[in-house]
């Protein structure tokens, strides 16, 4: 408690408070630009923060991280182009809402759900950070393998025409994750001698291509049907009825996001996709999904923002980044001379809680910003497509180019734009591919490590790990149940008719 209070006290310092406000505003702004998410911004800002004292620097970066996560949902909703990977699930329903003229409502719900999720996770972190860190630390490779497998199996219900197509897309994502140098053997895989591919396929170009460019190509081919501009009177802040409708999805998203975010390597994107799936599963309005369901915005937004707090736990407590953005945060800590790990909780609790305090403040700042500037953000929808989409393209190009200053990433983005268009035309959802790409390396590494641990007796090995076994069981049940039920129904069908 003492550490928490001293952590909160740093916000009384005008410089640190100013850095937190500036970080939040910058985060929301760049998060709203397609492809320029928190990770890109933090990577670009990293050299600039070296000269600042560690607390102010980390408060600034924590605020950028939170703000960008919220800002990413703005373009996800308005132009179907998630500014941040974690907003990809928000685009699924948010953009449909915007198409129906409910952009302001979607943005307002996104702001509130994001803030609730973010504040919830920070409070959980403050109260239970050491316990959660210890729980995540007890996971070994078999548990991670089972968890990644479970996450991929969830893709079956993410969107698109059919579960099989979703699983194919997820498997392609995993296949893409194998590109690059194999960390255990040093062997180059599918690099075709290209230096740009040795570190694997970048997440940013794939995401921008699949979402932003594919949307632009799609809009271009049905451009004649456009021209319905959003009227300002259709923009409104969510009322009590909407909040009541979304309460369950916000609670579910906040819980799932905090938990998934706290698990190393599973970040806000996974949290949002899983939350979208679970929100749909538990919704009383399933028929609205795919046509602009407000619950489909609230759940993922609560989840991806609560994952921000959760992802900071393994980063700070274990030195294991919870996401690509926290990996950059980790680098920032090291640059500042702070060694992340379990000792951080004992040695520098003030620094730790100052980061949490800045994140708490950032959540409150963007709540105000989101609620009072929803109309302003919604105006982006009023820009004529002839001006908006070429602008999205140039932003996408610079977003793909920016992180590594590599033209290879721009070519990759264009390639995945075409892939995204083909996906759309043939009923595939891009989200499972993204999830496969996110989880692919974790799946492979944890499988390899598990097999090394279990040597030849891997079946018995998994049987001896109750958490892994439970997760694999749930995965098999989730994948197999629809088939088994269909088979049972088919077998019962003729018998039933005979009885009748």
């Amino acid at each position: 408690m003492e550490a928490f209070l001293s952590g909160m006290a740093v916000l009384a310092d005008p410089f640190i408070l100013g850095m937190t406000v500036a970080g939040t505003l910058l985060g929301v702004f760049v998060g709203a630009l397609p492809g320029i998410g928190g990770s890109t911004t933090l990577a670009l800002l990293l050299p600039l923060t070296i000269g600042i004292n560690p607390i102010a620097s980390l408060a600034f970066m924590g605020a950028v991280y939170c703000g960008a996560n919220f800002g990413g949902s703005i373009t996800a909703i308005l132009v179907n182009s998630p500014g941040d990977p974690s907003a990809s699930a928000t685009a699924l329903e948010g953009y449909k809402m915007a198409e129906k003229g409910e952009a302001g409502l979607a943005l307002g719900m996104s702001a509130v759900a994001s803030a609730i999720g973010g504040i919830f996770s920070v409070i959980v972190m403050i109260v239970a950070a050491p316990l959660l860190a210890r729980a995540a630390y007890s996971f070994g490779p078999p548990e991670y393998f089972a968890l990644a497998l479970f996450g991929l199996s969830m893709c079956a219900a993410v969107g698109g025409d059919s579960p099989v197509k979703n699983l194919i897309a997820a498997a392609f994502g995993v296949a893409l994750a194998t590109v690059g140098i194999d960390l255990t053997t040093g062997v180059e895989r599918f690099t075709f001698g290209l230096y740009d591919l040795t570190d694997g396929i970048g997440f940013v170009p794939v995401l921008i291509g699949l979402f932003a460019l594919a949307e632009m190509f799609d809009q271009a081919s049905r451009q004649h049907s456009l021209g319905k501009l959003l009227k300002l009177d259709s923009v409104r802040i969510p009322g009590m009825a909407e909040f009541r409708k979304c309460a369950r999805s916000i609670v579910l998203g906040s819980g799932l996001g905090t938990f998934i975010g706290a698990l190393p390597a599973l970040g806000a994107t996974t949290a949002a996709l899983v939350s979208y799936n679970e929100t749909r599963r538990w919704s009383k309005h399933k028929h609205e999904f795919g046509h602009g369901a407000i619950e489909g915005v609230a759940g993922p937004e609560a989840a991806n923002n609560s994952a921000v707090g959760g992802a900071m736990v393994p980063t700070l407590a274990l030195g294991i980044p919870g996401s690509s953005t926290t990996a950059i945060m980790l680098a920032a800590l090291v640059v500042q001379g702070v060694r992340p790990g379990p000792h951080l909780f004992n040695e520098q609790p003030t620094l730790l809680y100052a980061v949490f305090a800045s994140m708490l403040a950032a959540n409150l700042i963007y709540l105000v910003l989101g609620l009072y500037s929803a109309k302003l953000f919604a105006r982006i929808s009023m820009v004529p497509p002839a001006l908006l989409w070429p602008a999205v393209f140039v932003l996408s190009v610079i977003g793909a180019y920016g992180p590594n200053q590599s033209m290879g990433e721009v070519y990759l983005m264009l390639f995945f734009g075409v892939v995204g268009l083909l996906f759309r035309r043939h009923g595939f959802s891009p989200a499972p591919l993204v999830m496969g790409l996110v989880l692919g390396s974790l799946l492979e590494e944890s499988l390899k490590q598990s097999l090394l641990i279990f040597q030849d007796g891997w079946v018995l090995g998994f049987l001896g790990r109750p958490i892994a076994l439970l997760l694999i069981g749930v995965t098999l049940l989730g994948l197999g149940a629809p088939w088994v039920l269909r088979l049972v129904a088919r077998l019962r069908g003729p018998a039933g008719r005979r009885v009748a």
Partner: protein, 158 residues
């Protein structure tokens, strides 16, 4: 528009394409460099990609065996504007190689804006110019990115 479902209906054709990509992926795993047996422990570099390739093949088979719909909806054709926009993206790369990223961005915004139906030259030039200026200020001046200057840029500034 719909028509009676042929034997090779759309999802089957998709399944065939998926299977072809999976086979190419699997074939690619045989081109990896070999690791000396003495250094090998556990799974090698190719086993996991092969496993993924086989899973994709299996899923393609499952997709092909899905029940066919009674009628097949024709895919909406990509119109001339769609193809022209795609061509403009490729032209963007060519202009960028020649004149640099900022010039290519300006030209793309003006060209594609006109293609999509904006006919007011002032609006096109102002939006493209404003956008490029903002990007230059943010990324070049603030973030210190070096954008590709193209052959022209190299000749002028190097």
């Amino acid at each position: 528009m719909s028509r009676p479902t042929p034997f090779l209906w759309r999802d089957r054709r998709v399944a065939l394409a998926v299977a072809a990509v999976a086979l190419a992926f699997l074939a690619g795993t045989f081109s990896f460099d070999a690791v000396p047996a003495a250094l090998m422990e556990g799974m090698g570099a190719s086993e996991f990609p092969r496993l993924v390739g086989f899973v994709i093949l299996l899923l393609a088979l499952v997709l092909a065996l899905q029940p066919a719909p009674a009628e097949e909806e024709a895919l909406p054709a990509i119109n001339r504007c769609g193809w022209a926009t795609f061509a403009a993206c490729l032209a963007f790369l060519a202009v960028m190689a020649l004149a640099g990223m900022l010039v290519a961005m300006f030209a793309f915004m003006v060209g594609v804006g006109w293609l999509w139906g904006e006919r007011r030259p002032g609006v096109l030039l102002a939006s493209a110019g404003g956008m490029v200026l903002c990007l230059w200020l943010l990324f070049v001046r603030v973030f210190g990115l070096t954008l590709p200057g193209g052959l022209l840029g190299d000749m002028l500034f190097n």
